[in-house]
């Protein structure tokens, strides 16, 4: 996916609740690419160059780890907040 496509996809999937800003998206994409987590392909459209980002094999592993970590965090928070609600 290319940058603009990513922002639109996130917007659609979250029904507009999460809107990625360009100021956050591109620095992150460049850093992830430098880390070897993302691989890129470029397509020339007239005078424009479009860069498609995809997860590298290492990126897949990292992504799985991070998703699991996040799910774990959500579960913990849920548990924590349930108890809080219980007390209240």
């Amino acid at each position: 996916m290319y940058g603009y496509e990513i922002t639109q996809k996130v917007k659609d999937l979250t029904a507009g609740k999460i809107q990625l800003t360009e100021g956050a998206l591109y620095p992150t994409l460049h850093a992830l690419e430098a880390d070897g987590i993302l691989t890129t392909e470029t397509e020339y459209i007239g005078k424009r160059v479009r860069k498609y980002y995809s997860l590298s094999s290492e990126g897949n592993k990292v992504s799985d780890e991070k998703v699991n970590e996040f799910a774990d965090f959500i579960n913990t928070m849920k548990f924590l907040l349930d108890i809080k609600t219980g007390i209240a």
């Binding site: 603009y4 956050a24 620095p27 992150t28 994409l29 430098a34 860069k51």
Partner: protein, 379 residues
């Protein structure tokens, strides 16, 4: 859907460049992104320029360059958390190594130097530089960054200076002087006067300044003043003259005694005695520039310095070969005298490797060897 012309695309790319985005990759990404937004959202007959500028505004808070700064910062500090972790680990490791080294040093057990060198090395070359890098990331003003840099540099020089001093490595005094000069003359005044103006940092600044002055003061109390060194050197030199006078009396006394030793022992003894004289002459020559010490040395500044004997023999190959020859002659003498009875003094000469063995210690030891030698002959 709006269709962009090549001129409009060039216009956007130029504008991105003009606004300080220099990374080509980022320029092209932003260009495609903006083009997509315009194509998707601008009516066919819409105002391109107005729409472009309002779109561009959504990309930043103050200026477009922010995206590039954030990109560079993310790429430079992608290891921010790793750096923090390494800093913590290096801190703990260095403290553990240093504690181990100091305990071993007090107990006079082997391995002390390894612990101290590694401990101080890790804190000076890993912990402090990482602390500096992480600290300046939190600071916005160039003045604060420069101050942190100066503080770190002084701290590194100070820790290395103390390490070099303990290990008897050259350059220790230079490092310590640079560290203390930086700390007291540059860092402290700037830190104090900039910190005291801000009510939030006033108390902390005063407390930290007092701590820095106290630490530097304590270090300086351990330093011998040039005047102190002069007094100590004068004492050492007059001590040596007195010992040499004692030796001269002993020599005069032995001349009146007939020698009871075998020819071989006498020859071995004479060799030791002559090499002792030669060695003393060489040490005095190195220390004072003259072959003998004038009894009025004080006025002529002709004094024996506080030099490591190890350094003397390392820097002077002649002195080293004389000392080696002397050690061999002493061994030879001791072997020849081995069966002569218990009343005979064994001659003992220190090897030059001990770092605390100074050149005046060597002189004293040589005079003692000569005295014992003469006493053995008078037995």
């Amino acid at each position: 859907m709006y269709t962009l012309s090549d001129t409009q695309i060039d216009f956007i790319l130029d504008d991105i460049r003009r606004n300080g985005v220099e990374l080509e990759d980022l320029q092209l990404n932003l260009l495609d992104h903006i083009c997509c937004i315009i194509e998707q959202n601008l009516e066919d007959n819409g105002d391109f320029e107005q729409f472009y500028f309002s779109t561009r505004k959504m990309f930043y808070r103050h200026h477009l360059k922010e995206i590039e700064e954030e990109t560079i910062s993310l790429m430079t500090y992608k290891n921010y958390y790793m750096m923090k972790k390494i800093m913590m680990i290096s801190g703990v490791v260095s403290v553990a190594l240093m504690t181990m080294g100091i305990v071993l040093k007090f107990l006079h057990w082997p391995g002390a130097a390894v612990g101290i060198v590694l401990g101080v090395g890790v804190i000076s070359l890993i912990f402090l530089p990482l602390l500096f890098l992480l600290k300046i990331k939190e600071q916005n003003q160039l003045k604060d960054k420069a101050l942190t840099g100066l503080g770190t540099l002084s701290a590194i020089c100070l820790t290395l200076g103390v390490l070099f001093k303990v290990m008897h490595w050259p350059g220790a005094n230079m490092l310590s002087i640079i560290a203390l000069a930086f700390l007291m003359c540059l860092y402290l005044p700037v830190y104090f006067f900039s910190g005291i103006r801000n009510p939030d940092t006033k108390t902390n600044t005063i407390v930290n300044s007092v701590l820095i002055i106290t630490a530097c003061g304590l270090i300086l109390t351990l330093v011998r003043s040039p005047q102190g060194t002069r007094i100590l050197e004068a004492q050492i030199t007059s001590d040596y003259i007195m010992k040499d006078d004692l030796l001269k009396t002993e020599i005069a006394l032995s001349r009146n005694n007939s020698l009871s030793d075998s020819v071989a022992v006498v020859a071995a003894g004479k060799k030791v005695f002559d090499l002792c004289e030669k060695m003393k002459e060489e040490i005095i020559q190195i220390e004072t520039g003259k072959k003998t010490i004038d009894p009025n040395f004080n006025s002529e500044e002709q004094m024996i310095g506080i030099t490591d004997f190890h350094q003397v023999v390392t820097d002077n190959p002649t002195a080293k070969s004389t000392y080696d020859a002397l050690m061999n002659a002493v061994d030879d003498y001791n072997n020849k005298y081995a069966n002569a009875g218990s009343s005979v003094h064994r001659l003992v000469l220190e090897t030059a490797n001990d770092r605390d063995f100074k050149s005046y210690d060597a002189l004293t030891r040589i005079v003692m060897v000569q005295m014992f030698l003469l006493q053995n002959q008078r037995r």
